[in-house]
Structures are given as structure tokens and as C-alpha cells.
Amino acid sequence: MNSAGVLILIPFIFSLLCFVAGKKWSSVVALISSVGSLFYYLLLLSSYNVKTNYVAFGFYYDWIPSIRASLSFGMDAANLLVLLLTQIVVCLAVLATMVKGNTRTGAYYGLIGLTHTFLNAFFSSQNPMTFLIFFEATLIPVYFLILNFGGPKRKQAVFKFFIYTVFGGMLMLAAILFYQSNMFPQLRLDSWAEFYQFKLSLKYQYWLFTAFFIAFAIKAPIFPFHTWQADLYSQADRPTLMILAALLSKMGIFGFVRFNFFFIQVVYDWFNYITVLCVIGVVYGAIIAWRQKDIIRLIAYSSLSHIGLIAAGTMTLTNIGMQGAMFAMLAHGLAVAGLVFVADVMIRRTNQHTVDSFSGIARNNPRFAVYFFIILLSAVGLPLTCGFIGEFYLIWALVEFKFYIGLVAALTLIFGAAYMLRWYQKTMFGIPSANILGFQKLSLSEDYIFLILVILILTLGLFPADWVGFGQFAYKYMNFIPDN
């Protein structure tokens, strides 16, 4: 009964229910679905033995045999953490939607459920075809979520986003088809192992990698493919944005995690160029975030900065870099979901979007200030929070691989502190401004969301060893494949 397929089915069935459940019951259905899949995931995790078998709880379906396309799902060491993040963040997003003032119709919950389904399917995909299909499929519910529930300029933003990612997806489709057509017909491309086994000649690898890189770089996003990001984020509904910022940006990184080992030689040859792009993103995003007035845009650019670091970490192809990237995905997902929710709390109460329009919230809402501060510490990467562990590994990997790139990437320590503290001080500190006086105390559900996040951040920061360990097994597995 334990199967990754069930993990995909649970949110799918419940999301269909949500569509018909009506406004009153859909939130309950969605909550049951997300919590249910979280618990089901934990059940899987508890019976998962990383050391003995690589792909556990496999689920296989022969989709179109004539073109050798099959759907295959399962859990392995590489997707373990990111699946955990998915369940948690969707839970939080549903909770955030249930907060008074964010309440939505059944369709909203249904679309979130669909996003959840596709994300689960994407992250648990066990062959390139499945990976590709759900890479694209995730776009659909997200598109409608933003188009129907976003801000005033949502149409342009979502169109831009759609065009960008579909463009990347097309490149990836072409690359996978090319690969598949060049494989021996007896190979069916049913698992990553088979994918890694058959290597094309280096000339083709360069082209294929370029295609994959652009696809993932747009999705992640990596400088200079990021311009859709801030526009989209500022138009998205905030609970959607939690999923968007915490999970969708991880899809690109996850792509690097999956595919980089296939292109070892290419990554090695192009390491300098790619990581320079990533590192430019780190500094560039941080500088923009520092001067940014709009809170959501600030989050978007800070995300660009962090994602650049994580992507650079995956490019090192070292044990440390991979482990760090996988853990940092989790850490950044939690932190950014928290930050988005912080922004949601602020914006929902006052209807103001800029940093300058808040002041002195800490005076009225010390609890909120404390939650915000802990989340911020994780985003800044202070020790004893989970953000530190990820950042530590990543910078370590980079410094070890290329000293100067690592040194520049480490600037995120300074810039991160600068823009985060700026945001915090401007909004939380100072004399309470007029529109803060009516700032309501946190409601119970908001309290819960923050508590869950803060506990996770601190726990993962204090006891990260086992979680980081998963990345190590993934690394071993992927690196086991011989070079050509």
C-alpha cells in the first residue's frame, strides 16, 4: 500500500472534492488533504531505509508505449527533503488561506490541491519524461491561481511568467526528445539510473545542457532570467505566493540536482561561467532587495539572491555542495514561506505594500516581531537556525571549489543582513505610525503558522545532521554512475 502514487492521489482526489465542496467546506477539505498527505509522507518516511534501496515506494505506469513514454514515481534520497518541504509549505499555505481576510472560494483550494498534486508528482518523478510532464503541468493550476485571484496587473505578469517558463519547457522537451531518439531502442528510460547510463557524445551534451540550463534557470530563476519573478510575485495572492516562492523556485534547483550529474563534463567545463551568473545573481538580487520599497518585491529579489547561491552549490558537483543545496532548499523554502506570510500579515492588516509605510509594529505586536525576527535570522543565515546550515555548506563548497567565487558568494552574509535588517527595522522599529495603531493582534491560526515555522527553523538548525545526511546518500547514488 505504501506507494508514492498515493501521495499524489491524496491531494488530487481532495482537490476535486474542493471544487465541488462549496465555500464553506472546501477549506476543511483542503486542510484534511494537506495534513493527510503530510502524515502519509511521514508514514512513508518512517518506513524508508535510505541505505538499502535507492528508489522506494515506486509507482509505474506505461503511458504511451509506442513512444517509450512512461510515468514513474518514487522516493529516493534526492527528493526526500524537497517532498517534505512541499507537504509542509502546502499545509501552511492552506492554513494561511483560511486566515480571516484571505478566505477564498472552493476553486482556490481546488487549484492549490492541484498544484500540490503536480508538485508531488514532479518531485517524486523517477524518469525524465515524468519530470518534464509535471514540470510543465505545475504551471496550469498556478496560472489560474494567479489569473483569478491575483493583483490588478496580474494578467501581464502571469503572461510573462507563462511565456518564460513555457519557453524553457519547450527547450527541455526538445532536449529530452533528442536524447530519447538517440538512445538504443531497447532502453526504455524508465528510471534515472537508465538515464544516467546512456551518455551522448560531448558535442551533443553541450547543446542538451544548454537547453536544460535555460529551462531550469528560468524556473529557478537565475540571473539574468529573473525579470518575470518580481512582477509575478507582486501580483500573486499571498498564500499562492508561499507556494510559488517556496516550492516553484525549487523546481529549477531540483532540476539541477537531477540533471547535473548527467552532464558532469559540461558542468565542469562551464563551471566558471555558470557560477559567475549565479554569483552575480546573489549580489545583484541583494542590492536590489536592499533598495527595494515594495515588500513583496524585496522578497522576490532576496529569493533571487539565495537561489543563486543554491544553484551555484549544485554546480560544484561535490558532496558538500549537493548536500548543502538540498538542505538549503528546505531551509530557504521555510524561510521564504515565513517571510511571505509576514508580508501577508502586514499587508492584510493595513493594505500598504511599501516598507516605508510601516513603523513601530514591535511596540504593539511583540509576538509578531519575535516570529518575524526568528524567520529573518534564518533568512540571514545565523547559526542555530536552519538557514545557517544550508549557507554554511554552500559557501564551503564554493570556497573549496573556486576560492574567489566562494568569496563573492559569501557577500550574501553582508548584503543579506543589510536588506533584511532594513526591512525589519523600518517596519518593526521606530515610533508606531498612524496606520499601525489599528494593527490587530495575531489571530490563532496566524499564531499557529508562525509557531510551526519557528519550531521547524530552530529544530532543523539545532539538529540538522540526519536531514543533511539524506543529501549524502543521494550524492553517492548519483555519483556512482561511471563517466564516459
Binding site: T227, W290, R291, P383, F388, I395, I414, G430, V468
Partner: protein, 628 residues
């Protein structure tokens, strides 16, 4: 006794205090907050005493659990390490910490954020203990960042004031610049030595270390960058004077006694590494010299009582850095200890003055307070005598030791430090006389309101004063025939040979010190124990302008780093991001769009146009078929 038990006894009480006060501080009475807050450091202090008494042997390594691990590279324990150096630091941290906590209960009692303040202080103490006790660089780094964070929180404690917030952010960010170096140094160390525990680094270094290894030099310099941030060395010292925005106990505990000395502690902790890199030691010594001199010079012209002390702290940290730089680590630790005593004393005394004057910090508006605040005057006098190095106060011994050791290595460093000492004496006596002697330079009404502080404030002052008087006897110089107990204690951890100077030099040094002190005291008394404000106004000469404006360092950083970054940021947001990047990335998009517009015009719906195009295309097709 079991070392683990003692460790738990030392480490956790402040954290528990922080949690209780932080979570429930608003709902329990103030006296309970005070007791809980003071109990934490006191328990830690007790633990320290127990550790001193009962722990034998060179060191105790207590790994609690594996924090994180990378196969093949390094295993990072959440582990702790108690040795002699740590115990000395623990004494300073928990001892001075307890006193300052007690003082704070009086000083901050009427503040509305009282419980928050005490919680922060406890958290700071916990982080500091983490820093001191960490058995590896990563745990040390955790504490290092933790104290930086608490420093940020406490500088900006009165967060409704924007200036204070700015100072807090400045402190945090400048510290982070140093932390970058520290972090990179950690990675380099893992890379080089394959381990991160102090003991394993030491062992590996003993086995395969080479003098003047460039990699080690790089590691040392990176570590020193961290030290520059935390211990306020040039070029990163400008945050410390601004950090005086925090409440005075904070300045005393964090920005004088403990946190800023963390850098000194780090180098003393890693002394074996620095021994392998004379180059970086030289860099440290030179930086220390410049810092000591510049900070002392700036302090000459300051009128804010806390700022004077802040620059004095920077200057003294420079002393310690020079001591480290010439390789006499123990002298540095010695001075660190005595400095913690007398600087905390001075700050708390200054706090008492400020408290008595209801928030006045400008010494040009003080004067004649001797009669009103007897205890404060007494302890301030002791503190001043200690810092200027008057025998037999604490500062004399440690300073003398540093000067002597520096002289034995490099005459020029000695000369600079001697100058700095003269300046120190000048500004400290100026502070003392301007505050307590002469006539009160404010209004009569104000003078009437001046009062001596409460006992909870005075008693810690007296205790600290006693330490400042007798703390120096822990390390008597050879010349007096006494024992250098501190050396004997620390040498078990820090393997360092004692320097040698001639007796003649020591005698003459003492003599010159005393003569100089008396003459400076006389001069400053003549000048500053007055009722006129004029002497406090700075002249218009270029030199005094430069000094008054702190050598324009802040402005320099503003021009060199902050403003360009700000401008770049605005430029990127306003122009580059959408003007260049977006357009660049949308080239395919634009191409498709423009061609679709062109094609759209073809579909005009006009029959004649369709017919024409049909004809033309037939023409083309036929042509192609014919002339293929």
C-alpha cells in the same frame, strides 16, 4: 566533579533565564524578572568557580552531539571545551556579567522594556558562553554571531529612535563583514587540516605545519578580518562608538568587557596557528598600533562621556592586538581581564553619572559632581587610575607587561603605544576632572536634582572597583619578586615563553610612567576643573577638525562603499533591471511579437489584398517550378 555536569551548570542557566523572561516576562512581576535574570549569570559564575576548583588536567572536551557531518571532510560537533584559557574568560564573562546584571536591575528598573532587556542580556551571556566554551570553530562562530545579534538587539534597545536603529544595523553589518572572513577562514581550515576541533587542528599543525605557509597566512588574515569586525580594529572600528546608543550596562558588558574582546580571545585560542605565520602577526601588530593611536587621538576631543570611553575601549583593544601581534598572548589575555574590570567599572560609573544627571552625557555640561556622588566619584577615580596605568592598580601591571613585551620585540610599536598611553592618560583625566571637579556647568535647578544612584547600582561598582584595584596582582612582574599566577595558569594552555627585558628598562618605564601621569594629571586639572565651557569647544584648526570628525572615516566609507552601492541599487531598479536585462532577455519575445504584428497586418480582411497575394504566390511557385 564531572566536567559535563559543570558545563551544563555554566552554559544553560542564562538561556533558561532568557526563555523564562522572554516568554513570560510581561506577565510576571518585576522582582521575579530581576531574580531570574540575575540567577542565570550567578549560577554560571558558580559553575565557573567549580570548574576552576575541581577540573584538573589540561583540558576537557565535551562533545554533546553531532551537529552536522560531511563524510570525508569533517564532522562538526555541538561540542564544548573547557581549558585554562576558557576558565579565565569564563571568570571575566560570568563575573563581570553577574555584576552588570545586578547593576542593570537598578539602572533599567523604570524602563518599560525591562523584562525584554534582561532577557536580551541573558541571551547575550549565553551566546558569549557558547563562544568561549565552543570546542570547535563552528560552535565558536555560532556564539560569535549570537553575540553580534544580541549586540544588535541591545544597541537598538530603544527601538523607537531611528538613530539608535541605524547604529544597531551598522554594528551588525560591520560585524558581518568580519564574519565573512571568519567563515571563509573556517572553510580554509577544514580544507587544510581536515578538522575543525581546536585540538585536532593543533595536532595536525604540530605534525605537518610549515612556517610561512601561505595558506596558513591566508587563514590567519581571514580570521583577523573577523577579529577586526568584532574587536573593533581599524578599518572596521567605527561601529563601536556608535554602539554607545544602547543603554549603559550594554556598553559596559558588551562593548567594553566581553563581546569586543572575543576577537582577542579567538586569536589567543588559535595562537598555535598564528605562530606559524609571522606575516599575519605583523599585520595584527601594525593594525593594533594604528588603532590604538587613532582611537586615543579621537578620544581627546570627544565631549560625550560614553563616546570617550568607547574610543578608549577601541584604543585598549588595539593594545591587546599589539600584544597578540608580538606573540605575547598571555599579556593580551591579562590586559583583556583587567580591562574588563576597569572599563566595565568606568562605563557603569559613567552610567551612574548619566543616571544621576537624568540622561545628560555631555561632559561640558557637568562638573563638580564630586560632592553629590561620592561613591561614584571614588570608583571612577579608581577606574581612571587603573586605565591610565598608575601603580599599583590593575591596569598598571597588564599595560606594563604589554609595553615591556612589545619593547622586547619592536621598538617602533613600543613608541606608538607609549604615545597612545600618554593620550589615554590625558583624555581619562580630562573626563574625570571635567565631570567631578570644578563647578557645575549646567543650571542650578539641574544640579539640585543630581543624586547618588541606588544600592543595586553602587554595590556592583564597588565590587568592580575592588577588582580594578587588586586584579593586577594576578600577574606581578618579575621585578617585584612576586608570582605571575596568571602566566603559570595559562601557560598550561598557551605554550608561550616569557619575554625578557632588562631591569633597567623596567625601572625607567615605571619611573617615566609615574612622572608622566603626575604631570598630565596636573595639567588636565588646571585646564578642565573649571567652570567655563570654553575649554571644551574644539578649535578651528585643521588638526582638531580632523580629530573631531573621527578622521572622516565614516564619511570615507560612505563615499567609498555605501553611496556607490546605494546609487547602483537605485540605478539598477530604475533603469538597468527593466531597461537592459528585461529587454535583453525578451529579445526572442520581441522578435515574435513584432513579426506577429507584421503578419497580423497581412490578415487585413481585404479581398483584393488576398487576391493579390494569391497571384503573387502563384507567380513565385511557378517561378520556382520552372527555374528549379
Amino acid at each position: 566533579m564531572d566536567a559535563t555536569l559543570i558545563l551544563h551548570l555554566i552554559l544553560w542557566p542564562p538561556l533558561i533565564g532568557f526563555l523564562i523572561n522572554g516568554l513570560f516576562g510581561n506577565s510576571i512581576p518585576k522582582w521575579a524578572v530581576s531574580i531570574i535574570a540575575c540567577l542565570g549569570p550567578l549560577t554560571s559564575f558558580t559553575g565557573t568557580v567549580l570548574a576552576y576548583k575541581f577540573l584538573s588536567g589540561p583540558a576537557h572536551d565535551i562533545p554533546l552531539y553531532t551537529w552536522f557531518i560531511v563524510e570525508g571532510s569533517a564532522k562538526i560537533n555541538f561540542g564544548f571545551y573547557i581549558d585554562h584559557l576558557a576558565i579565565i574568560m569564563l571568570f571575566v564573562v560570568t563575573g563581570v556579567g553577574s555584576l552588570i546584571h545586578a547593576y542593570s536591575t537598578g539602572y533599567m528598573h523604570d524602563d518599560k522594556g525591562y523584562s525584554r532587556f534582561m532577557a536580551y542580556m541573558n541571551l547575550f551571556l549565553f551566546s558569549m558562553l557558547l563562544l568561549v566554551l565552543g570546542s570547535n570553530l563552528v560552535v565558536l562562530f555560532a556564539g560569535w554571531e549570537g553575540v553580534g545579534l544580541c549586540s544588535f538587539l541591545l544597541i537598538g534597545f530603544w527601538f523607537e529612535n531611528k538613530e539608535y536603529n541605524k547604529a544597531a544595523a551598522k554594528a551588525f553589518i560591520m560585524n558581518r563583514i568580519g564574519d565573512l572572513g571568519f567563515l571563509v577562514a573556517i572553510f580554509l581550515i577544514i580544507n587544510k587540516f581536515g578538522g575543525i576541533e581546536f585540538t585536532s587542528i593543533h595536532e595536525t599543525l604540530m605534525e605537518e605545519g610549515q612556517l610561512n605557509d601561505p595558506q596558513i597566512a591566508l587563514i590567519c588574515l581571514m580570521l583577523f578580518l573577523g577579529v577586526c569586525g568584532k574587536s573593533a580594529q581599524i578599518p572596521l572600528f567605527t561601529w563601536l562608538p556608535d554602539a554607545m546608543a544602547g543603554p549603559t550596562p550594554v556598553s559596559a558588558l558588551i562593548h567594553a568587557a566581553t563581546m569586543v574582546t572575543a576577537g582577542i580571545y579567538l586569536i589567543a585560542r588559535m595562537y598555535f596557528l598564528f605562530d606559524y605565520s609571522p606575516l599575519s602577526l605583523n599585520v595584527i601588530a601594525i593594525t593594533g598600533c594604528i588603532t590604538a593611536l587613532i582611537a586615543a587621538t579621537i578620544a581627546l576631543k570627544q565631549n560625550d562621556i560614553k563616546k570617550i570611553l568607547a574610543y578608549s575601549t577601541v584604543s585598549q583593544l588595539g593594545y591587546m592586538a599589539v600584544a597578540l601581534g608580538v606573540g605575547s598572548y598571555i599579556s593580551a589575555v591579562f590586559h583583556l581581564m583587567t580591562h574588563a574590570f576597569f572599563k566595565a567599572l568606568l562605563f557603569l560609573g559613567a552610567g551612574s553619572v548619566i543616571h544621576g544627571l537624568h540622561g545628560e552625557q555631555d561632559i561640558s555640561k557637568m562638573g563638580g559632581l564630586k560632592s553629590k556622588m561620592k561613591w561614584t566619584y571614588a570608583v571612577m577615580l579608581i577606574g581612571t587610575l587603573a586605565i591610565v596605568g598608575c601603580p599599583p592598580f590593575a591596569g598598571f601591571f597588564s599595560k606594563d607587561e604589554i609595553l615591556a613585551s612589545v619593547y622586547s620585540k619592536n621598538f617602533w610599536y613600543f613608541l606608538v603605544l607609549a604615545f597612545a598611553s600618554v593620550f589615554t592618560a590625558w583624555y581619562m583625566f580630562r573626563l574625570l576632572f571635567a565631570t567631578f571637579h570644578g563647578q557645575f556647568r549646567g543650571s542650578e535647578v539641574k544640579f539640585e536634582k543630581v543624586h547618588e544612584s541606588s544600592y543595586s547600582m553602587v554595590i556592583p561598582l564597588i565590587v568592580l572597583a575592588l577588582f580594578s584595584m587588586f586584579g593586577g596582582f594576578a600577574g606581578l612582574p618579575e621585578l617585584t619578586g612576586g608570582e605571575h599566577n596568571l602566566y603559570k595558569f595559562l601557560v598550561q594552555t598557551i605554550a608561550q615563553t616569557r619575554f625578557k627585558v632588562s631591569h633597567l628598562f623596567e625601572y625607567s618605564l615605571w619611573g617615566i610612567t609615574i612622572v608622566a601621569l603626575i604631570s598630565i594629571a596636573y595639567l588636565t586639572y588646571r585646564k578642565y576643573a573649571t567652570s567655563s565651557k570654553v575649554v571644551f569647544e574644539s578649535g578651528n584648526s585643521l588638526v582638531s577638525k580632523i580629530i573631531l570628525n573621527k578622521f572622516y572615516l565614516d564619511e570615507l566609507y560612505l563615499i567609498l562603499f555605501v553611496n556607490p552601492l546605494k546609487k547602483t541599487g537605485s540605478w539598477i531598479i530604475n533603469q538597468f533591471e527593466y531597461g537592459v536585462i528585461d529587454r535583453l532577455i525578451r529579445i526572442p519575445d520581441t522578435l515574435i511579437e513584432s513579426s506577429s504584428i507584421a503578419l497580423k497586418n497581412l490578415q487585413s480582411g481585404k479581398l483584393s489584398w488576398y487576391l493579390l497575394s494569391t497571384a503573387v504566390s502563384i507567380l513565385l511557385i511557378v517561378l520556382v517550378f520552372i527555374y528549379r
